[in-house]
Point group: C3
Chain length 347, copies 3
């Protein structure tokens, strides 16, 4: 339970005439929020829904406050305000400090009293954990890894030896950071493995989803800068460098040694080839095939639109004839020009 007064304090906004003792149980969508629920409206197209809102309170832009039938708090960016207050309503588990007796912690590891090490978690030799670090059930921190303050590893997350996380990082369940990059040299009978001698260095406030893989570098480190956010099932290969505040959605795959700028966004399932340079502020729509460098900020896409399969088959066959079609077009143009000239000669 959260009071409106707590919201006012957190957001630093003007309470105006609202009763700050009003109690809120949770946040709910604008159209369904009831008398003990908080709602928010971030876009003008929902103003018609606002009219019939029955929430205890609504977060909205100051200029919309006159349209609200219920108490409201005016804030410059209601979506950001919603994000900020959402943590107050989070009833997720807040682990207690201490090392569970069922954890496996090497005596050489540096574990502050504020850290929480869950059952079955493993902390190898020479690991250094910051204040308030949470390692959930079964998490693994390999030899010599370093985690900054307030990092949280959810169950089954694995950091290989030597991986470095800054402060305030989140790593969701079963994500793997620091496995060997995919490096092999071909010989006559098969493949010679190249030992991956680099590590992974991750900045501050990096949020990493579940089932992600970020590989260790071959010689240098793989690097994820501050404030990068990474969704589930993303794969980042060895020696990639990801710039600050870049956001990577689910199932994106990035091949080795690619360098991505700041403030980029990758939608779901984008595939990025290796050894590319992507400039700042480049944005990629879902499934884009990024097989060349990108030097201009902007939005990029590839692929073909969804069609009924019967129709798609016809068009897809023509794709395979596209170059031939182009040649036929050129020929037609030439012929027609010739005819046109002949015709004008006739005149």
């Amino acid at each position: 339970m959260v009071t409106l007064g707590e919201l006012v304090t957190l957001l630093g906004c003007e309470p105006g005439s609202v009763d700050t003792s009003i109690e809120l149980d949770r946040i709910a969508p604008l159209g369904r929020a009831g008398p003990r629920e908080l709602a928010f409206i971030a876009e003008p197209r929902y103003l018609s829904t606002l009219k019939s809102c029955t929430a205890a309170c609504v977060l909205l832009k100051p200029e919309w406050q006159g349209d609200s039938p219920v108490p409201s708090l005016g804030v410059a960016d209601p979506y950001l305000a919603y994000a900020r207050v959402s943590a107050l309503f989070d009833l997720g588990p807040a682990p207690e400090a201490g090392v569970h007796p069922g954890a496996f912690v090497d005596a050489s590891a540096s574990i502050p009293a504020s850290a929480s090490i869950g059952p079955g978690a493993c902390v190898e030799a020479d690991v250094v954990l910051g204040e308030n670090v949470v390692l959930s059930h079964g998490a693994h921190v390999g030899r010599g890894a370093k985690l900054g303050d307030n990092c949280r590893l959810w169950p089954g997350a694995v950091l290989y030896h030597g991986v470095v996380l800054g402060d305030d990082c989140v790593v969701h369940a079963n994500t793997v950071i620091g496995a060997d990059g995919f490096g092999f040299a071909r010989h006559s009978d098969g493949w010679e493995k190249i030992s991956q001698l680099g590590s992974v260095r991750i900045g501050n406030r990096v949020d990493i989803g579940a089932g992600v893989t970020i590989d260790r570098g071959a010689l240098d480190d793989t690097v994820i800068a501050d404030d990068v956010i990474i969704d589930d099932q993303v794969h980042i290969a060895h020696n990639c460098v990801i710039g600050r505040r870049t956001a990577i959605a689910g199932c994106v795959g990035m091949a080795g040694s690619t360098v991505v700028g700041e403030d980029c966004t990758f939608a779901g399932q984008v595939g990025v080839s290796g050894h590319l340079k992507i400039c700042d502020n480049a944005h990629f729509t879902g499934q884009a095939k990024v097989a060349r460098k990108v030097e201009e900020p902007g939005s990029y896409s590839s692929g073909t639109p969804l069609e009924a399969t019967r129709q798609w088959r016809k068009n897809a066959v023509r794709f395979g004839q596209l170059d031939a079609m182009h040649r036929r077009l050129v020929k037609l143009e030439a012929k027609l020009d010739a005819l046109g000239e002949a015709a004008s000669d006739d005149d």
Copy 2:
């Protein structure tokens, strides 16, 4: 070892003249099944193979029984009959009831005597398990999660706090259900995390493969209806709703808040954008890019066919000129029309 009599009982079919004491060691493909093996034939194109079959018994349609050189059982749907009897031949581990001494079970959790909790598994506070639930080695059930009867979590599967599974669900190894959805609000210096306050609700008889991620909802729950089947490495983002009996093949990625109807099928690597509505009975071929709503049942596709790279490069270049080609085509048509008219004027 299974007798033919057991098959007859399970399938409720007519034994006819077959010797129900015949013993079967396993199921084998029609062309290779030997004298202690069961085979099946589901499609008429394999009838020629049936002629030389040496299996102990064949499951087939009643009208094909005359063609079988070996004992047979006539059933309306031989493939379904094969599925039904396959469990009799499954020699996989059947865990014993009880809590392994190496498991971590909170005293407040409700664990029936029939449940089996493996070594290293973790059951947090206020969890409720149904009858015969199996939690394998290292599985994790977060605070307050509820599992119906006969659910089975394979090693390393993780259910976050509050996740709800119906009866008879399977969750394969290292799958993660209930991690935070990918929700952030942008501010000037980076991203503000939006606490994911919803959960994941999964119906009855839902089968989920290995390495899957299904995220918890932002405000409402992510919902998977009864009888949905999900292959390995599928990603389902927050607030998706998946309708009954829908089948989702490997590596499919679905962005947030998309609502999928009943009886849909998604082939491998299909990508679905967020906030879409997909009607019942919509089917998507492999790698389809579903970036718009789908309102008509049927099969949908996108992409281009596989070609030799040398040829593909030529066609792919032309794709980038497709709109220009179209304009050239329109121009040619106009010119030719003009010429044609001029020609007929000449006549």
Copy 3:
């Protein structure tokens, strides 16, 4: 620390006049390697960088030795030589032999004294481990599985019951081998599960990344031949057969029963349909959609190139009109031919 003499011995190359007592701390990129570092040059285009190299020693082709300002070792294949010596510089954890008291090992399992079983790892009944096998923290080896000599499972890797690994295999963290294939028969109310009665058989020297899923077969086994290398997040469905030395990059998905030849390469995110046959020496570029059999060696591709989204939208619309455009082109050609003939008739 490694001496140049150790390198000479390992590579079996000619030391010439180099001082074999030179000590090397690590391997570094050619352009940055310092006086205690080893560098290598594998391609002539880096010869200009070689001129200013300050490494302790460079691995290079004998014909380039004259260009090196620092000591060098001449080898036929410098990249392969780099791979071979890289292991000497690997400071990753080398687990000690023995069973950790926090491991769960069934009494019936066969565990040689040279094996290393980490904390929280689980070895079920009837498992057979080869010499020097390493099972890291939390790894799972299901009932009756067999691992050859020198296999290593990283944390959280899961082998289901009956899975067989040859010698010298690596399985990175949270990879799952042997989960059920995605096999169901449709009935009127939903899906009947088909028990997956096969297993997974993996050859010698197979290297498997993190977060991979390889499913067990329905009746027969899924088979991965010797010397196959598999990157992170790859999915291989039931009953696939992968030929020797084939390399599969990150996020590739392969549907069931596909048979892949030897020496193939799959770049990232390639999708392969089921029941296909792919010949030896077939190569697929990133995101290729392999929905038909491949009978000729060579390189294959599909998809469209990356474009600015604004331009892509225009071209993508035309893709949906491609068959119609083709018909218009054919019509134009016919019309023009008719006009041409009419024109020549006029002459």
